[in-house]
């Protein structure tokens, strides 16, 4: 394939990846990695390097809008980043002693299983707000945002320890494999902490940039971040993330949850296939 074709194709595909990644809070890696490895024949190491950059691009490109419009909960994000960054360091420390195929099978299966509660909540607009108490109250893990129709949604959160634990798993995965963190962050905030879906995906989006940056040093030093692969991906992702952020703000929580459930299923299957040796 000619480089000019590669650059243009990756640019347009990355716009698509940025749109979806910014809506569901997973970053664009879930699209970028299989496209690079299967369609473009790029080595998996370069694909993961590009995915790290894609995740940071999705995060920063959309978070500027989400944060300004106060859909992202900054306090929840900062609090959970304690777990995601610690997890990333732990993942890097244990990488030599773990079997990544076994891990991908386990975590892919967890994602598949978590589809059940996710699907059971399909149709839920705003969760019944739990009482704010204990650690959540002390940390101020509550907030409000305005829907596009002008309705103000006030919400509280619960079970911060479970949220922290789920986010730590997300961090370990990022540190180990460079991928897969976003899904566990959204699930932690949605299933454990009972935050509204849009708050969960946009706060995940806010956090994944920091988690990916935590792992970026090693990929950069190794030379896995190839300029030719990364350049069209980064530009496309940034444009896609800006578009995706505008779409999310106008979407309903129920719509975001449906899209997330579909993407979650794809992420789970990708992870299990990868464990079986299909390089996605």
């Amino acid at each position: 394939m000619f480089i000019i074709e590669f650059v243009l194709l990756m640019f347009f595909i990355s716009i698509f990846a940025g749109v979806f990644g910014s809506i569901v809070g997973l970053g664009g890696g879930i699209v970028v990695i299989p496209v690079l490895t299967i369609l473009m024949g790029v080595d998996i190491h370069f694909a993961i390097g590009a995915s790290i950059v894609a995740i940071i691009g999705t995060s920063s490109g959309s978070a500027s809008t989400y944060v300004r419009d106060k859909v992202t909960n900054l306090r929840v994000g900062m609090f959970l980043e304690l777990a995601s960054t610690s997890g990333a360091i732990t993942g890097a420390a244990i990488a030599a002693y773990t079997n990544s195929a076994a891990l991908e099978t386990i975590f892919g299966s967890i994602l598949l299983v978590s589809l059940v509660p996710m699907v059971m909540k399909i149709g839920e607009d705003v969760p019944k707000s739990p009482e704010l108490r204990g650690v959540s109250k002390r940390l101020g893990l509550a907030g409000s945002y305005t829907e596009s129709d002008g309705r103000v949604v006030n919400y509280n959160s619960t079970r911060p320890v479970e949220g922290l634990a789920g986010t730590a798993v997300a961090g370990v995965l990022s540190g180990l494999l460079g991928i897969g963190g976003g899904a566990f962050k959204v699930l932690s905030m949605d299933l454990a902490m009972k935050l509204p879906m849009k708050v969960s995906t946009t706060t995940s989006n806010f956090m994944i940039g920091v988690t990916a940056a935590a792992s970026a040093g090693i990929y950069f030093a190794r030379g896995d971040v190839d300029p030719l692969v990364v350049a069209p991906v980064a530009l496309g992702i940034l444009i896609g993330a800006v578009i995706g952020a505008r779409i999310l703000l106008r979407s309903r929580n129920t719509t975001v949850r449906k899209i997330f459930a579909v993407v979650l299923a794809i992420a789970a299957v990708e992870m299990i296939l990868s464990a079986l040796g299909v390089s996605v």
Binding site: V42, M78, D226
Partner: protein
């Protein structure tokens, strides 16, 4: 607070996007886009695997000589630095709100982040 963090992210993204675009245009101008992607080979025996000088010296030299790859690399560094700057500024914003608990939380996150980015790549046995 939300406005400042939003602006930091926005300018980081615009700056990195612009630098990467300069890199791609300069790549096209030097006929760097006419080759085939067979050159995208991953060499597991050599570090860095893409045979591109990732050291600061190599980067500085490439920027001076207007090497397209060095400009793209600089853009990527700015992009990676964007969420880091967001954490740095959050420490000060929470301090301005006199929110001691979150100053502490954010400072710990920043320390963990910098340790993970800058120190762990050089610890033997990590990332193996």
């Amino acid at each position: 607070m939300n406005v400042v963090i939003g602006e930091v992210l926005r300018y980081g993204v615009i700056l990195s996007g612009a630098i990467i675009l300069v890199g791609i245009i300069s790549l096209a101008a030097t006929n760097g886009l006419t080759g085939i992607t067979g050159m995208l080979t991953y060499n597991p025996n050599v570090v860095p695997h893409d045979n591109i000088d990732v050291s600061l010296g190599g980067l500085a030299q490439g920027l001076v000589t207007l090497s397209a790859f060095s400009w793209i690399e600089l853009g990527v560094i700015v992009l990676i630095a964007t969420p880091v700057s967001r954490v740095v500024i959050s420490v000060f914003l929470f301090a301005a709100e006199r929110d001691r608990l979150y100053v502490l939380i954010t400072a710990v996150v920043l320390a963990l982040l910098l340790f993970s980015m800058l120190v762990t790549p050089f610890i033997p046995g990590f990332h193996a």
